[in-house]
Amino acid sequence: MTSWIAGIVGIVVVGVLIDILLPEGDSNKYIKGIYALIVVFIVISPIAKLANGDINIDNIIQNDDTYCEIDDTFVQSVNNDRKNQDIQKITNSLKINGFSQAKVSIFLSTSNIYMIDRVNIDITDCTQNSADCAQKIIDIVNKCVNCEEVKIYDYK
């Protein structure tokens, strides 16, 4: 493109010089006609290059697949905060329903997105038996968080 612009600038300067230096006479109009043809030729010269398909789009747009990396450490830290908050929430809810000694642990999925895979409830220290109140505990947990699986442990 630079050479093309330089060509146009050059031919226009030559045209000005022709105007200044060319003597009056019959040959004047022929010289100006030839000059006009040269100008047109220079102006349309990049079209030939375009028609040949010489333009490489990769030179214009560089693809970068590694762009925009997410800070996994921060996301994990927020997920941990949310996990602790959910543990607190389930513990409080269980306490209100009479399982004050229940121990809650939450297992998250391995992805970045906060998803609870499993909730473990240990009611060993509680007075109730797991056989009697399993469904009640599962209901309480499901009301607090969305999770696939609730496991209840009772080592009494």
């Binding site: 493109m1 612009i5 146009i8 600038v9 226009v12 300067v13 045209g15 000005v16 105007d19 200044i20 230096l21 100006k32 100008v39 102006v43 030179n59 214009i60 747009i61 560089q62 693809n63 970068d64 762009y67 925009c68 990396e69 997410i70 800070d71 450490t73 921060f74 996301v75 830290s77 927020v78 997920n79 905060d81 949310r82 908050q85 607190q88 929430k89 809810s93 209100i96 970045n112 997105i113 906060y114 009301k143 607090c144 969305n146």
Partner: protein, 392 residues
């Protein structure tokens, strides 16, 4: 009977007061927990690259007075004020400084035009009319040397602003997308990732590699076209200007359409899923519903506040980085238009035409900066508006 009324009113008042105090206590406790959550999240958030960009490119204490984390905290606390007065005083200062820097160039150009006018008025005494053409050629060359020097510096400034905006995007989007991912908005995050890559990579590179060369070509051909009376290149200049405008307009339209469609779809999917979770909580746990759903939002609410405050700071950074070059180009363009008007009655029409062509072409340069800035602002604003799960 009166005693009974007094006792009833007293009991009701005491009940109302106790309910109010319980409510206030719960509110204070929630606020404290929220502040604690924000402090924790903010200390974990990595803003070092964004801070480095600000120090390298702007570093203006009038724009952001303290460190980014402190500023985010002050926005969340509602202490950060950015009034219209200080913003306009910054713009006015920049305009005044640019006018002062443009005055010598305009005076020099006007002096050359006047000189040509004086010399050409004596041309009736010259033997050949071509002598007048030589004088025109010399004066015109002197003028374009001065103008091209300034235009080249503006092109360099514009390219560097576009590149610095690209670098800001590279630093800002990972932070914003990290915050969106932390909110659990998987659809929005998946949508924004390719979108921001298209903006930062494809569009900026297309503008830098196609629109900017077209602008330079348009300016040069516009100047050269007025060199001779016989060679007219006006239509060619218009062709390049139209092509660059067409590419810019096309890029912006496609991007905005894509952004609107994808952004809405992604955020809608996330909002629906989260609202379903909240609805389930509130409807199935009647007594605890309020407490639980409020508790659900504490960490998330903190992240939303941080996301929106970071977005606001990024918006301020974008506006501050594009304001100066846009004012610079705008002032020079207006000055050239004024000069074109002043020169028109005193000397050759070609001078005035050349000045006006350059001034009109500078509009493309402003469009480039404003267009990329606008797309960037739109994306950041969409990030601010999207994924406000608790409040949407």
């Amino acid at each position: 009977m009166i005693k009974f009324k007094i006792v009833t009113v007293s009991i009701l008042t005491i009940m109302a007061l106790s309910l109010f105090s319980i409510n206030c206590f719960a509110q204070n406790e929630t606020e404290e927990k929220l502040e604690e959550s924000i402090d924790d999240s903010l200390s974990d958030l990595n803003l070092s690259e964004l801070e480095q960009w600000f120090n390298e490119n702007l570093n203006d204490k009038d724009i952001i007075p303290s460190s980014l984390k402190e500023t985010i905290q002050s926005i969340i606390d509602g202490e950060f004020t950015y009034d219209a007065k200080s913003f306009f005083s910054l713009i006015l200062n920049s305009i005044t400084a640019n006018i002062t820097s443009v005055i010598p160039i305009i005076l020099a150009l006007f002096a050359i035009a006047l000189l040509y006018s004086i010399v050409s008025s004596m041309s009736s005494n010259f033997l050949k009319s071509s002598t007048k053409e030589i004088i025109y050629f010399v004066c015109y060359s002197a003028m374009i040397t001065i103008i091209l020097g300034k235009v080249a510096s503006l092109v360099v400034a514009s390219s560097s602003v576009v590149k610095s905006m690209q670098s800001l995007m590279d630093k800002a989007f990972p932070v914003l997308l990290t915050l969106i991912t932390a909110l659990g908005s998987v659809s929005t995050s998946t949508v924004f990732q390719p979108l921001t890559a298209i903006l930062s990579n494809t569009i900026v590179n297309l503008v830098l590699n196609i629109v900017m060369p077209l602008f330079i070509t348009s300016v040069i051909i516009g100047i050269v076209g007025n060199l001779s009376k016989n060679i007219k290149l006006d239509r060619l200049t218009k062709f390049f200007k139209s092509t660059s405008n067409f590419i810019l307009g096309g890029l912006f339209s496609i991007f905005v359409t894509f952004l609107t469609m994808q952004g809405l779809t992604g955020s809608l999917a996330d909002t629906i899923s989260v609202k379903t979770a909240k609805f389930a909580l509130q409807s199935y746990v009647p007594l605890l519903g309020g407490y639980l759903s409020d508790g659900l939002d504490l960490v998330v609410a903190g992240i939303i506040l941080i996301k929106n405050s970071t977005g606001i700071i990024i918006l301020i950074m974008i506006m501050a980085s594009i304001a100066v070059p846009v004012i610079q180009i705008g002032v020079f363009s207006l000055a050239l238009k004024l000069l074109s008007g002043l020169v028109e009655p005193v000397c050759d029409n070609r001078f005035s035409s050349m000045l006006y062509t350059v001034s009109k072409n500078l509009g493309t340069l402003i469009s480039v900066i404003l267009g990329i800035g606008f797309m960037f602002i739109l994306t950041v604003m969409l990030v601010i508006v999207c994924c406000n799960l608790g409040v949407a």
